[in-house]
């Protein structure tokens, strides 16, 4: 094991860096500009049972130190993912990948996980109970501890692969939801998904995002992400994938001190396509700077008093 390698739910990663779902497609766009096998792994584009066109345009808005997106889980559906996307991914990425899955009912989650379970490329499932852009009736599953746990149980029932649950930050009590997922058998927790945000175009007086509200991410949300990763990592026994606004090796160190075993990088990929490669390259220098020998030393290493 190298200085940067960590173990996530029993699978070793060469480094803790994981491009976040929805910012990295199925990898091959980025493989055109760098060898993506330098990554720890990546979480592929959120996949649902049926194909989804996603939300109307515009789907993106500028914010101070961040952005709002409202893609709405556009994806070709799990069967096309298996037939068209995974073969293309396989050509450029040769490590276990994280399969990000979504659904509109407990059965749909189970269906997608079951369909993907036979794919040998998949190392982990990341179960997204928190996409802010596809809610029906105003609430996401991930804002309810019981509903989240139901999804975890259903996915665990159809796969032996580790199941990581991706939680929404738009909740009063993130810890109770994380614990409920752990009790239901989740092998890890990833957080945070995007904050629910909104911008208004002052010229047209219309919401910038066609779907009115969308998912807010970028460096602006980093302090909220660090706080929630800290709260959850100190409350659960399973590993935490920390994400939300991470855009530098310095941020990676901070997220791991807060309690993350691995670190997702999202919006940064969209403004700097080389972001993950550069973070990985820069990590040894930053570890040296803070006197850290092996990166595992700092997981949950925040000191008190």
């Amino acid at each position: 094991m190298g200085r940067l390698s960590v173990t996530l739910c029993g699978i070793e990663l060469d480094n803790p860096i994981i491009p976040a779902s929805g910012t990295f497609g199925f990898g091959y766009e980025f493989a055109e500009i760098y060898d993506i096998n330098c990554l720890g792994t990546f979480s592929f584009k959120g996949t649902t049972k049926e194909p989804r066109l996603g939300n109307p345009l515009p789907r993106v808005a500028e914010c101070a130190s961040g952005m709002i997106n409202s893609v709405g889980l556009q994806n070709p559906g799990v069967h096309k993912v298996i037939s068209d996307e995974l073969p293309k991914m396989r050509e450029c990425f040769h490590k276990p990948v994280m399969a990000n899955i979504s659904g509109f009912s407990v059965d749909e989650y189970a269906y997608v996980a079951s369909a993907l379970d036979g794919e040998p490329d998949i190392g982990w499932f990341e179960v997204n109970v928190s996409c802010p852009n596809v809610h029906k009736g105003g609430a996401v599953i991930g804002s309810d501890a019981c509903a989240s746990a139901d999804v975890v149980r259903a996915v665990k029932a159809v796969t032996k692969k580790p199941v990581i649950v991706k939680l929404s930050p738009n909740v009063t009590d993130i810890v109770s939801i994380a614990k409920s997922c752990e009790d239901a058998g989740a092998d890890g927790i990833s957080l945070i998904n995007t904050l629910l945000g909104m911008r208004i175009d002052k010229r047209t007086r219309k919401p910038v995002i066609a779907n009115v509200m969308g998912g807010f991410s970028g460096p602006a949300v980093f302090p909220v992400a660090v706080r929630m990763v800290y709260q959850v990592a100190h409350a659960v026994g399973v590993p935490v994938v920390g994400m939300g606004g991470v855009s530098s090796a310095e941020d990676v160190v901070e997220m791991m001190l807060a309690g993350a075993t691995a670190v997702g990088v999202g919006a940064a990929n969209l403004v700097d396509p080389y972001a993950c490669r550069d973070i990985i390259d820069d990590l040894p220098r930053v570890l040296d700077k803070y006197g850290i020998g092996n990166i595992n030393e700092i997981i949950g290493g925040v000191r008190h008093g």
Partner: protein, 246 residues
């Protein structure tokens, strides 16, 4: 796609709300008219996608023309000579100039007209006879007309307020005898052109973009041949691919 640093060589207002910026550096990634660059601006999170209006490979200069429409472009207008910009260059498919063998009509609306200059150069160099129809809000907004005429193009203008050329939309400056169309501008204008003329051609789409290189799916549109990303599979679509929302 490549990330490069370009230096502002010139940045000047050329029409109401419209600026021309010359950027010097490695311009080799721009291989077709209609491609764009995505510019990182200090103090802004998302890059700003701006189409390339001209490239001088010998001098290592590319020209972009942009309209001030928000805080990002307001900031761009303040950049001075010597400012260094982090740019993703060589984005998008661009126009296929070879697709037109004889007569081409280039149709531009507002700032959308910018890439037509590089396209007209490519077409005239191949001996294609080029006409242009340009639509603007008012006479003060007109740009590129003289430069296109200098290339030998026949240029017709329409203005909404009638202060120059034909009063009306750019479709009012079209003759209806088009052989092949290259169209660039806001979607409603392009749709009107599409409906007015049955000629074959290529349409370059504008969109709010996230990444500009196909990763985020923020600029998806539905086409006859499936979902396309305007930034990566476009911005130029062939007429027969287009499915307008109704």
């Amino acid at each position: 796609m490549r990330e490069i640093i370009l230096t502002v060589a010139r940045n000047e207002k050329i029409a109401r709300g419209t600026y021309r910026m010359e950027l010097s550096g490695d311009v080799s990634d721009i291989t077709s008219p209609g491609q764009f660059i995505n510019i990182k601006l200090d103090g802004f999170f998302l890059r700003r996608p701006i189409s390339v209006s001209d490239v001088d490979s010998g001098a290592g200069v590319m020209t972009i023309i942009y309209k001030v429409v928000g805080a990002g472009t307001e900031y761009m207008a303040t950049l001075e000579k010597g400012a260094r910009l982090d740019v993703l260059s060589g984005l998008g498919n661009g126009f296929d100039a070879d697709a037109c063998k004889t007569d081409a009509l280039l149709v531009g609306g507002g700032a959308g007209a910018a890439p037509l200059y590089m396209l007209a150069k490519a077409l005239t160099a191949r001996g294609v006879r080029v006409s242009c129809a340009l639509g603007f809000g008012a006479a003060e907004e007109i740009f590129l007309a003289d430069e296109l005429r200098a290339l030998g193009c026949d240029v017709k203008i329409a203005t909404v307020d009638g202060s120059a050329g034909v009063k009306g939309f750019v479709t009012d400056a079209m003759m209806g005898d088009e052989n092949y169309l290259y169209v660039c501008g806001p979607e409603p204008m392009m749709k009107a052109v599409y409906k007015k003329s049955r000629a074959d051609g290529q349409f370059s789409f504008e969109s709010r973009m996230g990444c500009g290189f196909g990763a985020c799916l923020c600029c998806t549109c539905k086409t006859v041949t499936g979902y396309k990303r305007i930034c990566k599979d476009g911005p130029v679509l062939n007429r027969e691919e287009i499915l307008w929302d109704d």
